[in-house]
Symmetry: C2
Subunit: 79 residues, 2 copies
Protein backbone atom coordinates (compact mmCIF):
# COMPACT_ATOMS: atom_id res chain seq x y z
CA UNK A 1 0.00 0.00 0.00
CA UNK A 2 1.32 3.43 -0.91
CA UNK A 3 1.30 6.30 1.57
CA UNK A 4 2.24 9.80 0.45
CA UNK A 5 3.63 12.19 3.07
CA UNK A 6 3.56 15.85 2.04
CA UNK A 7 5.81 18.09 4.12
CA UNK A 8 5.41 21.87 4.00
CA UNK A 9 6.93 24.74 5.90
CA UNK A 10 4.53 26.14 8.48
CA UNK A 11 2.98 29.50 7.67
CA UNK A 12 5.27 32.32 8.76
CA UNK A 13 8.47 30.32 8.35
CA UNK A 14 10.76 31.98 5.81
CA UNK A 15 11.17 30.02 2.58
CA UNK A 16 14.30 31.25 0.76
CA UNK A 17 14.07 28.43 -1.79
CA UNK A 18 10.54 29.54 -2.68
CA UNK A 19 11.67 33.16 -2.93
CA UNK A 20 14.52 32.15 -5.25
CA UNK A 21 12.11 30.22 -7.48
CA UNK A 22 9.75 33.21 -7.55
CA UNK A 23 12.55 35.54 -8.62
CA UNK A 24 13.77 33.06 -11.24
CA UNK A 25 10.26 32.75 -12.69
CA UNK A 26 9.96 36.54 -12.88
CA UNK A 27 13.35 36.66 -14.57
CA UNK A 28 12.03 34.22 -17.18
CA UNK A 29 9.11 36.56 -17.90
CA UNK A 30 6.38 34.97 -15.81
CA UNK A 31 4.43 37.61 -13.94
CA UNK A 32 1.44 37.63 -11.61
CA UNK A 33 3.22 35.56 -8.97
CA UNK A 34 2.31 36.61 -5.44
CA UNK A 35 4.22 33.95 -3.54
CA UNK A 36 6.00 30.62 -3.97
CA UNK A 37 6.50 27.99 -1.27
CA UNK A 38 8.34 24.73 -1.66
CA UNK A 39 7.75 21.45 0.13
CA UNK A 40 8.61 17.79 -0.16
CA UNK A 41 6.55 14.80 -1.08
CA UNK A 42 7.69 11.37 0.10
CA UNK A 43 6.05 8.30 -1.44
CA UNK A 44 6.30 5.30 0.85
CA UNK A 45 5.61 1.89 -0.63
CA UNK A 46 4.66 -0.17 2.43
CA UNK A 47 4.05 -3.90 2.84
CA UNK A 48 1.21 -3.00 5.23
CA UNK A 49 -2.19 -3.66 3.65
CA UNK A 50 -4.49 -2.19 6.31
CA UNK A 51 -5.22 1.47 5.42
CA UNK A 52 -5.48 2.71 9.02
CA UNK A 53 -2.23 0.96 10.03
CA UNK A 54 -0.43 2.24 6.90
CA UNK A 55 -1.57 5.79 7.63
CA UNK A 56 -0.42 5.54 11.24
CA UNK A 57 2.95 4.06 10.23
CA UNK A 58 3.52 6.86 7.70
CA UNK A 59 2.58 9.51 10.28
CA UNK A 60 5.01 7.96 12.78
CA UNK A 61 7.80 8.05 10.16
CA UNK A 62 6.97 11.67 9.38
CA UNK A 63 7.08 12.69 13.05
CA UNK A 64 10.31 10.80 13.63
CA UNK A 65 12.31 11.57 10.48
CA UNK A 66 10.55 13.02 7.43
CA UNK A 67 9.33 16.31 8.90
CA UNK A 68 10.93 18.75 11.30
CA UNK A 69 7.75 19.50 13.22
CA UNK A 70 9.24 22.65 14.76
CA UNK A 71 9.04 24.42 11.38
CA UNK A 72 7.20 21.96 9.13
CA UNK A 73 3.75 20.45 9.01
CA UNK A 74 2.85 17.24 7.19
CA UNK A 75 -0.14 15.33 6.00
CA UNK A 76 -0.54 11.73 4.95
CA UNK A 77 -2.67 10.47 2.08
CA UNK A 78 -3.06 6.90 0.89
CA UNK A 79 -2.72 6.07 -2.79
Amino acid sequence: MKAVVTVKLKPGVLDPQGKAIGHALEGLGFDGIADVRVGKVIELDLHETDPAAAREAAAAMARRLLANTVIESFDVTLA
Copy 2:
Protein backbone atom coordinates in the same frame (compact mmCIF):
# COMPACT_ATOMS: atom_id res chain seq x y z
CA MET B 1 -5.58 31.50 -7.00
CA LYS B 2 -3.23 28.78 -5.75
CA ALA B 3 -1.72 26.22 -8.08
CA VAL B 4 0.25 23.30 -6.71
CA VAL B 5 2.89 21.70 -8.93
CA THR B 6 4.02 18.25 -7.81
CA VAL B 7 7.28 17.09 -9.37
CA LYS B 8 8.33 13.44 -9.19
CA LEU B 9 11.13 11.42 -10.68
CA LYS B 10 9.94 9.32 -13.60
CA PRO B 11 9.66 5.57 -12.97
CA GLY B 12 12.99 3.87 -13.52
CA VAL B 13 15.06 6.92 -12.62
CA LEU B 14 17.30 6.13 -9.64
CA ASP B 15 16.37 8.00 -6.46
CA PRO B 16 19.34 7.97 -4.06
CA GLN B 17 17.61 10.41 -1.70
CA GLY B 18 14.66 8.05 -1.42
CA LYS B 19 17.01 5.10 -0.87
CA ALA B 20 18.80 7.02 1.92
CA ILE B 21 15.48 7.83 3.61
CA GLY B 22 14.46 4.17 3.37
CA HIS B 23 17.69 3.02 5.00
CA ALA B 24 17.38 5.69 7.70
CA LEU B 25 13.81 4.61 8.50
CA GLU B 26 14.94 0.98 8.76
CA GLY B 27 17.75 2.09 11.05
CA LEU B 28 15.17 3.75 13.27
CA GLY B 29 13.28 0.47 13.55
CA PHE B 30 10.56 0.98 10.93
CA ASP B 31 10.13 -2.13 8.84
CA GLY B 32 7.85 -3.21 6.02
CA ILE B 33 9.16 -0.51 3.66
CA ALA B 34 9.37 -1.73 0.08
CA ASP B 35 10.44 1.54 -1.56
CA VAL B 36 10.72 5.27 -0.93
CA ARG B 37 10.68 7.98 -3.59
CA VAL B 38 11.06 11.69 -3.01
CA GLY B 39 9.59 14.57 -4.98
CA LYS B 40 8.94 18.28 -4.68
CA VAL B 41 5.77 20.23 -4.25
CA ILE B 42 5.74 23.89 -5.32
CA GLU B 43 2.81 26.04 -4.20
CA LEU B 44 2.31 29.00 -6.52
CA ASP B 45 0.12 31.85 -5.30
CA LEU B 46 -0.94 33.49 -8.55
CA HIS B 47 -2.84 36.73 -9.20
CA GLU B 48 -4.67 34.93 -12.01
CA THR B 49 -8.30 34.19 -11.09
CA ASP B 50 -9.33 32.06 -14.08
CA PRO B 51 -8.77 28.36 -13.22
CA ALA B 52 -7.89 27.26 -16.76
CA ALA B 53 -5.42 30.12 -17.21
CA ALA B 54 -3.86 29.52 -13.78
CA ARG B 55 -3.42 25.82 -14.57
CA GLU B 56 -1.84 26.61 -17.93
CA ALA B 57 0.49 29.22 -16.38
CA ALA B 58 1.62 26.77 -13.69
CA ALA B 59 2.21 24.05 -16.30
CA ALA B 60 4.29 26.49 -18.37
CA MET B 61 6.39 27.36 -15.29
CA ALA B 62 6.86 23.66 -14.56
CA ARG B 63 8.01 22.89 -18.10
CA ARG B 64 10.34 25.88 -18.16
CA LEU B 65 11.87 25.81 -14.67
CA LEU B 66 10.28 23.69 -11.96
CA ALA B 67 10.68 20.24 -13.51
CA ASN B 68 13.48 18.66 -15.49
CA THR B 69 11.22 16.84 -17.92
CA VAL B 70 14.02 14.54 -19.05
CA ILE B 71 13.91 12.72 -15.73
CA GLU B 72 10.91 14.21 -13.91
CA SER B 73 7.17 14.31 -14.47
CA PHE B 74 4.84 16.88 -12.94
CA ASP B 75 1.18 17.47 -12.38
CA VAL B 76 -0.73 20.62 -11.54
CA THR B 77 -3.66 20.88 -9.15
CA LEU B 78 -5.58 23.99 -8.18
CA ALA B 79 -6.25 24.73 -4.53
